[in-house]
Each structure stands twice: as C-alpha cells, then as structure tokens.
Symmetry: C2
Subunit: 191 residues, 2 copies
C-alpha cells in the first residue's frame, strides 16, 4: 500500500539492532486517519471471508484492529500480556510470545468464552518480523477451535522470515508494506 | 449516556474487591460500534475546545482514544507502561501510576517530542476510579507545557473520589457513565 510505504520512507528511522522506529505514526503516536485507510484495505482484502471477530494483541495492535473492525462491523478481542483482578477467575487460553523489541517473554492470553468454534477470525497486528506474536495468536485460535481466515499486518520485515513461515503452513498473510531489506544507514527497500 | 449505562447493566459483573468487570465490551473484547458512539459524544462535549491531540494510556484506552480521534480528526498519543528498544534514546516525560486492578506501580512515559506546548490535549481513558492514570497523564502534560482541555472516561466509579479530586483542581472531567454505588450482590446505581 503506497500510503504506508510513503509514510515509512518519510518518518521511519532505522535504529541499531535491526529496529524500524515508526513511533510517530504507528506505535506511540497514532495517525488514526492512516489506520482508517489501512482498515479499509484489510476489509477490501478479506471482505468475502465472513469475518466476525478481529483478534490482536495489546498495545499497538488495538488501534489497527479497532479501525479495521469499523469496516467489518465486528468486535475486537485483544490478547493480554498480563491479567488483572478485573478478569476474575474466567478460564483462559494461553500462549507464549517473545517480544522482539522488549527482549522478554510474555504469556498472551484470552478469556475462553470470547473465542469459540463459531468464530471466523481475522488476526491483525502492527508489525510482523519473526512472527512470534502472530504465532501465539494463531495458537490461541487453535486452542479455541476458531477458524482463522488470515492475518494482516501494517508492516512486515519480510527478510526476517516470520511471514513466509506462516504462509508455508497454508495461512493467508497480508502485509500493507513489506520490507525486503533495511540497512543501518537508513536505506529501506520494499518488496 | 444511556447506551453505556444500559450496556453496563446488561453485561457488567461486580467482582469481589470492588471490581466492575466489563471485559466483554470494553477492556478485553471491544464493542467498536459502542466506542464509536462514545467518540461522537466526547466530540459533542469538547467540540469547541480546539483539541489537536488525544492522550491516553495503553492498553484499553487506545480503543477509546482512536474512535474519538476519528471525530476530532486528530492524532492519538498513548503513554507506555514499558519502553522497548524501538523507542531509541529519545527523551521522555515520566510519571508514576498505580494500577488499581493489577496492584502494581507503572512508570508511564511519553516521548517528549510528541507532547509540546503547542498541543491542546484531551485526555481519554476507559475507567476512572481513584484517578491514578488520569493524574499521571495530567502530570505528563504539565511537564510538557501542553494545555489540557479536559478529561473524558467511559466509566467513572464516582464514589472512589478520583474524578471529583481532579475536578476540584479546575480540570473538566466528563464521564459517559457515573456509578454512585456498587454492591457485591451486583446492584449498581448511576449518578
């Protein structure tokens, strides 16, 4: 999607450690009109898939999911990294997820009554690199017996292989911007 | 706002420890169409305030903020509870915040270049109880020299006093549903 690629070219910063910093429009400050356009694109791509729920993970994924859900007319469910006392004693599906940028392992979880075999789920997130978050979300859907129609992300760092690994399992993955290479001097190439 | 009160009456559960569980529509599963209505109401309330930025805190606040930001045509900035390597070495404003439902203290922070004296900020969140999160967000704005036009929340537990304490400082606080009492047998009364 040219709009996203242009935004990355203009505002993205490459940091040491193979990090693409896009926190001025995606994962700290949020350009809501850009994400509304992204939501329309996800809807165009998955319009016929019978999506009734969008699954994502806190925190930045929530913005992506909510603006897409407006197009699909469905609810969002976000997996939590920590569970508070307001969750009560409800039973949960859990999956481990290593954060690439935070260097720690989270236990992602969803309350089991919100993800069921009746659901047709679109999984959305902001970033796809090694695929850790998407794999954990796919595991939650599998545990629930929910059908996954596919995954969508705003930015895929394609050279890290997470997306192709998921595609090789027959799961549809759509990325609005796919980066094929990134160097520390700030040179980005899109697929 | 009757729509929110009805939703709380129908789907809210009172848990031991003075907890109102609304995770089927607000802070785990998200009823996006309800939050879009809430966003329209916040816009009606603050339409003339010259808002150019909505500040919230991860995670559930992001949904509230994004759907309101669509009405205001402005960007969202969410304060982070943890800072990852994708933040780089940017300077940050920080404020302590105790989570009522997680029983822990977070260091909320925003990158200083995204919150400036030019900003007219509306602070939004899902819940207001003791006011810890709003007070931390107000502190971030104060550190930045940003003007706060007011605060808005979906649900205020008015009897916990956080909202009135902020109002007593001359800051406008709007709540779409204000709970005046809540008992463990599930009886809720709205102001």
């Amino acid at each position: 999607m040219k709009l996203i690629e242009d935004k990355i070219r203009t505002y993205g910063e490459v940091l040491p450690g193979d990090i693409l910093k896009v926190d001025c429009f995606l994962n700290h400050q949020i350009d809501v009109s850009l994400l509304a356009e992204a939501g329309r694109e996800f809807h165009r791509l998955f319009a016929d898939a019978g999506v009734n729920k969008i699954l994502t993970v806190e925190a930045s994924g929530i913005a992506v999911a909510c603006l897409a859900a407006q197009q699909f007319g469905c609810e969002v469910l976000f997996a939590k990294k920590t569970v508070g006392s307001n969750a009560g004693s409800a039973s949960r599906y859990c999956a481990e997820c290593r954060s690439y940028t935070k260097g720690r392992v989270y236990q992602l979880s969803v309350t089991s009554r919100y993800l069921t075999p009746e659901d047709r789920v679109l999984i959305l997130d902001d970033f796809l690199a090694e695929g850790n978050a998407l794999n954990a979300l796919l595991s939650l859907c599998e545990q629930a017996g929910a059908a996954v129609v596919g995954c969508g992300v705003i930015i895929e760092k394609a050279y890290q292989g997470g997306g192709d690994s998921i595609r090789s399992r027959g799961i549809r993955v759509e990325s609005l911007a796919r980066i094929s290479s990134m160097t520390e001097d700030g040179t980005l190439t899109f697929c």
